[in-house]
């Protein structure tokens, strides 16, 4: 057991699974000799050799396609796409093929692959390095979309993703890669996919989020607790398939809900959750479910990124709006 940052937990999971399963191969740009630009793959080349730790040419579409080809042959390909914005050239391969080979061949061929990418902004990076892409993939049939919010969940969910027989888009929270540490046990135990985690119990309002925004949401909950508001925190972890039962159980208890995302507002995953709450949880709610989100403008360059990315203040402000409509 060790206290690890989230990115170190990713590294540990990769080491652990590559040791356990000789069929696991990692590939991507600068992931071998360089250990990955975020050091996610440090040590893998020395431990497992160049055959299984592949430094690829500069071609994201090829990385996705190669992962697909490998996976159809039973190689558990774990590809790294260096930054979220670099996933755009992969969308065709992921949506047209990774998500479809099983169905297209009626189960003859399948794609047990993972594509990992740092998601979201807040690290003063150049253009295209700060995108929040989860909804593009969550909207696509045949994929799983996972976004961990803690080191322990990154470890357990990545193991689950690698072992899953279907393609998983694993979006890592870039700006909390090294923000805090947590005890992670290298026990090879996967966490369940398709399952939301209740981080904290509370009776007054349900706060739902995932990935990096879960951290800000926890801080917002701390601030609210000082004011006597007990927030229940739900980390959905797997965006698709969504664990609606856990969300509805929580909302039935609290009667109030705010959903927090970094991505653009229109059609973001918070919209999907809100629609489901309206369909299935309306009678539990004392107030409409509100959303905290990025804006429907292009992610700005670094200078203005913290006007775009929601912080504790905007989350708390949205919670206050809910309590204005439905006081305790």
């Amino acid at each position: 057991m060790a206290d690890l940052a989230l990115i170190e937990a990713v590294n540990l999971a990769l080491h652990s699974e590559m040791q356990r399963d000789a069929n696991v191969v990692v590939l991507g740009e600068d992931i071998g000799r360089n250990g990955g630009v975020f050091r996610a793959t440090v040590g893998l080349l020395d431990a497992f050799g160049a055959d299984r730790v592949i430094d690829t040419p500069l071609a994201e579409n090829l990385i996705a396609a190669m992962s697909i080809g490998l996976a159809t042959q039973g190689i558990r390909a774990v590809a790294e796409i260096q930054f979220s914005g670099f996933l755009y050239p992969c969308v065709d391969q992921i949506v047209s093929h990774a998500s479809r080979y099983r169905h297209r061949t009626q189960g003859r061929l399948s794609c047990p692959l993972v594509i990992r990418s740092p998601n979201g902004g807040g690290i003063h990076a150049p253009e295209h390095h700060s995108e929040s892409l989860e909804t593009v993939f969550a909207h696509t049939p045949g994929l799983r979309v996972v976004s961990p919010s803690t080191p322990a969940r990154a470890y357990g969910l990545l193991l689950a993703a690698i072992r899953d027989p279907d393609p998983v888009i694993f979006l890592e929270p870039t700006r909390i890669y090294r923000l805090f540490k947590q005890a992670v046990v290298d026990d090879g135990e996967a966490l369940p996919l398709d399952t939301a985690f209740v981080d904290r119990e509370g009776s007054d309002i349900t706060l739902i989020s995932w990935g990096a925004m879960m951290h800000d949401t926890r801080l917002a909950a701390d601030r609210l607790a000082e004011e006597g508001i007990a927030a229940e925190l739900v980390d959905i972890a797997t965006l698709k398939p969504l664990d609606l039962d856990t969300i509805l159980t929580s909302v039935a208890k609290t009667g109030r809900c705010v959903i927090v995302q970094e991505s653009p507002r229109a059609g973001g995953w918070a919209s999907e959750i809100a629609a489901n709450l309206a369909e299935h949880g309306l009678m539990s709610l004392f107030a409409p479910p509100l959303r905290v989100s990025g804006y429907d403008c292009i992610m700005p360059l670094a200078r203005h990124e913290h006007s775009y990315i929601p912080g504790v203040e905007r989350i708390v402000a949205e919670v206050r709006k809910v309590f204005a409509v439905a006081p305790k």
Binding site: M66, G69, H97, H103, T105, D166, P241
Partner: protein, 369 residues
């Protein structure tokens, strides 16, 4: 830069070779390879082409009578598919585009399965028989399957299996980024992959010369360190010879190959197309003179290996086979629509069961307006 430029020295140059044994009239232009001196082998090649053409003719007829959706005819391209299907070994892996039925039949795909596919039934790609069972399905998106071959070949090499991947595409596909990414990376890992470009001169209405500025498609391989070559794709002997050589070189560790097979699309792009809108009947008439079946037939006849009785018998049996495939296809019960949820994941998530159930309860639907 020129030969007389004192500052410039030649760093690289390239050559592209074209291989042909039989000319369009079936005359031998170069000493035949060993397999082509065996009468039975030649007759098998001929039979495969005739059966494919009979299937193709029947399938177009099924479409025209409303019993099949849009279909992509392979008329004129039977030699390329036959060469692929006979050059590959069973343990190899084939990644097709959508016009290589000859190869697929030779590898165990049932004719009625191709009919099911174009009828819009996913069971058309669930090939039960080996070796097709481990092959890739028809790919409608253009060229995106070419870099899949990179991953497949890497897996074979990683496992040290003496198996080869062959991926085929058309001339239009060579304009796409996916094609270049595949070509460029194959030799990075010296992969056992053979790329076949079936150049039938037309990408729907775009003629080959307006698809790219490159003089040949074979030379696109040179951009990835692969010595691309051309072959007369309507000479089944030459095409099989060149493919076998490339496949066995790949199997023995010499890395990737790119073969441009020169052929001609004698039919429309698909049954939804009308090629008379953009190409002349004169051109098509001339192309018929280069037909692969015509030329092998002439050669077989010249060697007194084939006569009118043989021809009549084969045409009859090929026709019967195509008819039987059509009957099998037409007798297949349509599936109920909730099957669209099957094989979406290894196991349908519990949260989606209600959608499957809703579709099941509603039952089959035709379009309302």
């Amino acid at each position: 830069m020129s030969h007389s430029d004192p500052a410039a020295s030649r760093i690289a140059s390239f050559e592209v070779f074209f291989t042909q044994f039989l000319d369009p009239d079936g005359l031998v232009r170069a000493p035949l390879p060993p397999f082509a001196r065996d009468a039975e082998t030649l007759k098998q090649l001929y039979r495969a082409m005739i059966e494919t053409r009979a299937f193709d003719k029947k399938t177009v007829a099924l479409q025209r009578t409303g019993q099949l959706g849009t279909y992509a005819s392979c008329l004129g391209q039977e030699a390329v598919g036959t060469a692929i299907g006979t050059a590959l070994r069973p343990e190899d892996i084939y990644i097709p585009a959508y016009r290589e039925y000859a190869a697929q039949f030779l590898r165990g795909v049932a004719m009625h399965e191709i009919l099911l596919y174009w009828a819009g039934d996913e069971r058309g790609s669930a090939w039960a028989a080996e070796p097709a069972h481990h092959d890739f399905p028809l790919s409608v998106p253009i060229a995106t399957h070419m870099p899949h071959a990179i991953g497949v070949a890497y897996a074979l090499k990683l496992r040290r299996e003496p198996r080869v991947v062959l991926a085929s595409c058309g001339d239009g596909a060579t304009s796409k980024g996916d094609f270049y990414e595949a070509i460029s990376s194959a030799r990075v890992w010296n992969l056992p992959v053979v790329f076949v470009v079936s150049n039938n001169q037309w990408a729907i209405s775009m003629p080959r010369e307006r698809q790219t500025g490159a003089e040949t498609l074979a030379q696109k391989g040179i951009a990835g360190g692969i010595n691309g070559e051309q072959v007369d794709g309507n000479d089944v002997i030459a095409t099989r010879f060149v493919l076998e050589r490339a496949i066995e070189r790949a199997r023995s560790g010499h890395g990737p190959a790119l073969i441009e097979a020169i052929t001609y699309r004698l039919h429309d792009h698909t049954t939804a197309d009308d090629a008379r809108r953009y190409r002349s009947e004169e051109e098509v008439r001339t192309a018929w003179e280069r037909c692969p079946i015509r030329r092998l037939k002439r050669y077989l006849e010249s060697q007194e290996l084939w006569n009118a009785n043989d021809e009549e018998a084969l045409l009859r049996s090929a026709g019967d086979k195509a008819e039987a495939a059509a009957r099998t296809f037409l007798a297949v019960e349509p599936r109920t629509p909730e099957t669209m949820f099957d094989h979406l994941y290894a196991q349908l998530p519990a949260s989606m069961q209600w959608q499957r159930e809703e579709v099941r309860r509603a039952g089959p639907h035709a379009r309302e307006h």
